[in-house]
Symmetry: C2
Subunit: 477 residues, 2 copies
Amino acid sequence: MTSSASAIADQLTALLGSRGVLQHDADLGRYMEDWAGHRRGRPLAVARPASTEEVAAVVRFCHANGIRMAPQGGHTGLVDGALPAETDDELIISLERLNRIHAIDPISFTMDVDGGCILADIREAAQAQACFFPLSFAAQGSCQIGGNIATNAGGMNVLRYGVTRELVLGLEVVLPDGRIWNGMKALRKDNRGYNLRQLFIGSEGTLGIITRAVLKLFPKPDQTATALLAVPSVEAAVRLYGEARRGCSDLLSAFELIPRSCLELAFEATDQLSDPLSTAYPYYVLLEASATGPIELDTMVEQLLEHAMAQELLLDGVLAASSSQAERLWLIRESMLEGQRARGPHLRTDIAVPLARIAEFVTEASAAVEAASPDSTVLVYGHIGDGNLHYNILPPSQLPEADKHALLHDLEALVFSVLDRFDGSLSAEHGIGRLKQAAWLERVSSDELALLTGIKAVFDPDQLLAANRILPASGRD
Amino acid sequence: MTSSASAIADQLTALLGSRGVLQHDADLGRYMEDWAGHRRGRPLAVARPASTEEVAAVVRFCHANGIRMAPQGGHTGLVDGALPAETDDELIISLERLNRIHAIDPISFTMDVDGGCILADIREAAQAQACFFPLSFAAQGSCQIGGNIATNAGGMNVLRYGVTRELVLGLEVVLPDGRIWNGMKALRKDNRGYNLRQLFIGSEGTLGIITRAVLKLFPKPDQTATALLAVPSVEAAVRLYGEARRGCSDLLSAFELIPRSCLELAFEATDQLSDPLSTAYPYYVLLEASATGPIELDTMVEQLLEHAMAQELLLDGVLAASSSQAERLWLIRESMLEGQRARGPHLRTDIAVPLARIAEFVTEASAAVEAASPDSTVLVYGHIGDGNLHYNILPPSQLPEADKHALLHDLEALVFSVLDRFDGSLSAEHGIGRLKQAAWLERVSSDELALLTGIKAVFDPDQLLAANRILPASGRD
């Protein structure tokens, strides 16, 4: 370190003003804890630049003085990418004051926003112009678009609109030495040189700090059909998905697998919920289709359901008759997350498997878990249309806390080892950050690692930006 | 050069067998000329490996001996990326024998193909399984998927399905030193490390040779509506596009701008074509929508047209009543390209402009061209839904050939200088290759160039693979 923490804070204050720097423990709480409050880092201080130029100034200052930086958006990530290291030597650079929506263009279907804009605000602003920004997930009320882009966020609508990578036309990025890269194009097609935009997307802040973006918009759907469908098996759910794509002209906006156990967790968590169907079934699918223009969406979904019933892919189901009924169906999806949380420590995974092999994977993984820990409860739910499962495990409730953590650690390794046989991904949408680093490094080839390390060195030879996220920090300490 | 051309050919023959190497002038014709026969390179020889391992063996051999390589797919590119240099020292590596379709999975909606597969063959094979691979353009009968991926090809269906970048789930790539990078994942979501797949896509063969890919498929549309619409202006066409997206629930699969002058070129080129409308109009739009399932597509398009007529965005139009009528409408689009070709040397551009500014761009560019060369004819057509225009110019027909070329060169510079004021792209879909290199280098920032050069050096420090495409070759000669 080139100077003491308080001297650094003073110099930052000179650059950003007093609102731009936080250094006292009392102010640092939410910046230094992960979203669940389980893990905690020790930052040098928090810098809160309010413009791209201020971000660049902070980064130039850090670069000149060899200070490590931890860029932070809404801090809702699940792999500790935005959490500062415990080593007291990382400056958090929070984008929260960089939150202006610059323009919405309903003719080009584009939107120009700062990196610190809250996702929900972006969605609302688009809606006000009869447009739609499809990125959507539970944290949308506090996550920031810069973080969403840096982590290539997924969520509910991916099967129709793609991951974040497919929703970004332009970027402005502050590079690790403080230069500003201007890639703020509003073009749907642009084939000039290597695509740096795509390289920044998903690099989790390790190659640069995203300060501004041009987003792709869509027409706001003016009708939606939502249904909860009971299916006999995971395999039937996957086959139903193919039928639903064909039967609904790819107008599906969600297709979520929910096992019975998760439905029950939802009922536990939210009193006013009750089973929308009269019988219990092993698996459910929450299907949503949406459209604009003269389409008979309900009729379309009804025809699909009749067809699926005849093929024995479907056992029972309810199509929401009103938007409040649709909201109640979605409340099941949200409440089951609450229900899981209420059960205390549990294994959360975020894996992807080729669609056609999901059922086989679930069978094999569950057999392995059952053999290793018969009293644990497997919960498999997720964005099955994307092949993306949250294959989670609740440990036996009577187990002492410390044993729970050890068990869950072992079960994660077990699930990942099954996943390896299916050419799956141990991070479908959450990224690597610091939490998945060890498991990922065990599996990545040395050739690939050398390429990624080489790319990191082109952008950040001193390894000051988001060090030790994704790639292991080498050298210094 | 480490040894003579014929000694190299002998060593390659030992690696690939005699079918795997071409070295005599009589056999080299189509490999060394660009598609239009205007430009010609001088290769060392042509290597025709028949497997990924053979590609790797050839590349290892070249790497060990310091031999430059020019990867070549169907050789239909428009920027001379696959054309060998004139310097007699590049080995063409043709992928044409690597052309197996390995698997189609209609449940996962994926397809596993060799890099040398012809695009039309891929489309047909998908169709046979009731699936659809959307990439489509004039060269589809001879272009290869590896080249399409390397150049991030665009084409007709981009507004609905995205560019090639959005259609590829997995890749296998032979790196510039002959190692094989296995990224053959069939996952819709995968957030592990930097996305090398996206970096390879669009890198025009300069970072590796694409030998195999997993492609994303879609349900095969079972109904299509095609219409030729007369619009009063470019601006009306752009506004109509927004209305069409909303009115047709984003089920548009093509939205092509065609000026009257191009319609007339089409009539010149193809005798049996006649004007589908009774009056001549300044601009037309060729609209196509497609769907699966119970959608009244014709009714939907008819309602759109009524609505657009009421808003004065539409002057006249014809909705194809049969598939043969639809084919005749598409024949106009194809014949106008023939008609252009028949006029001899002309300026071809492939530019992108933000949608909302297209009309303004066309006005300014055309005023500049009119002032500089009043007897030239501007032809502006293209994928207007993507903001992608082919802003082409026919020089005055009586001009001597040499003067035509000089004039077109100047007019290109003029059009690009107008484009710069619109934050446009001088290569929306064709890439940079060698032909656009100078114009691109004039405009790219030195910071960006340094990053791209750094990335190239990570993959290919000796600059042996596709040297002098996109980035200027430095050093050696």
